[in-house]
């Protein structure tokens, strides 16, 4: 990544070949009022739009590269590089919070 605005790569950023999967104790949940959240031990993250699209694809089967390609199609009006950076940043954040394993 050479773009100056790109997030700083860290050990928490996944590689394109990783297959992100929800960590033990984490589940994509929905309640009677159709509220969608990523449930984690002692906390939950509200999901909507892109964050929900990303988490739904963290199934341990799709690679990071595949997730990026699929989201770039869904958000075809957005800058593809920006979509990629946002996804990598979000996956790193979820990994840091213990919600994702990179397999």
């Amino acid at each position: 990544m050479t773009d100056a605005s790109a997030p700083k790569p860290s050990s928490l950023t996944p590689s394109p070949e990783n297959r992100p999967r929800l960590a033990p104790g984490c589940r994509l949940g929905e309640n009677a009022q159709q509220l969608r959240v990523l449930q984690m031990p002692e906390r939950a993250l509200r999901l909507n739009g892109p964050s929900l699209e990303i988490v739904q694809r963290c199934d341990g089967k799709r690679t990071v590269r595949e997730i990026i390609t699929e989201l770039q199609k869904i958000y075809s009006k957005a800058d593809p590089l920006k979509v990629e950076q946002d996804i990598l940043g979000y996956l790193a954040l979820l990994h840091e919070q213990g919600a994702l394993d990179f397999e």
Binding site: P24, G25, R27, G29, N31, A32, E42, G98
Partner: protein, 372 residues
Amino acid sequence: MNAPAAGPLALIAELTHRCPLHCVYCSNPKELTLRGRELPTSAWVRVLSEAAELGVMQADFTGGEPLARPDLVEIIRAARGAGLYASLITSGLPLDEKRLEEIVGAGLDHLQLSFQGAEEASAAEFSGTHSHAQKLRVAEWVKRHRIGLTLNFVVHRGNLHQLEEMIALAERIGPQRVEFAHVQYYGWAFANRERLLPTREQLDRSLEILKKAEERLRGRIRVEFVVPDYYSKFPKACMGGWGRKVMLIAPGGDAMPCHAANVLPGMTFENVQARTLRQIWEESEAFCKFRGEEWMQEPCRSCDRRAVDFGGCRCQALLLAQDAAATDPVCSLSPKRGIVDAIVAEANAAPVAIASKAEWIYRPNPASSSVE
């Protein structure tokens, strides 16, 4: 009538008050529910289904020791069947590999294992039971399953000097999450407060150690810390606000806004065997009493933080200021903060001595006829 804006998101299910441990800081009320008055399985199954309809997403099974219920597997299965995230808060006694397998098979998402110290001797002093070795075994068994594991170390004046050993122990076990939860001063802990409240120096040192551990373990183990609120500038947002996010069901079926609410005078609780969860949540006097802002006194009433901490804890206001509707006295803006300052000053003047076992007030087991 203080109607809620939404349904609760979490249900705390206190399945029983029976417990093999006798912790000197137990959060259970001083009047424990007897085994014969506990809700039957069918009532819990119905409660969990009503909770899901009301919008609840997570059920925390606690006690006492929830493993004391022979029907725990059925109850967890019912929670998952209703679509709830199921979390078990346990001491790990009595448990063997086979029963754990059944519990995981029923759909358990997360297990929180409590620790009373870094090694057997001190853990036994604070819990009145030898349980440390069993906890280490349970942690190993849990790790063979794909469920979340949190280690919860209860910390206080008497064991903060072991903090580094506790962190090392957590690192060896390797859970997803480790919590260092400072004792909160209600019930049994209020009775033992003098021997549990740390000094400022102990607290500062512990925060330094924890900050380093958090940094070092980032991405591997999530480190969290609950500070003793007597040292805080502002009160905690107790239960995320009264009747706002959480409903607690006591072993006998009384629905309560928090663990300790039965210390509040004149408060009556409705029972899940008489009314639905929705009726209790929306209409019961107990849930409406301190919901919203109308009950607030000054300085809360006009304070910018009233939607941040909701006036703090009602039970603490009662215990320290003898007025359940007062601003939580730990708040630096409270006219009663002097009460807390005096307690803290006393804690800092006294030497950090290890209390002798005879000085502790141990919580009994309601199932047994005598206290160990």
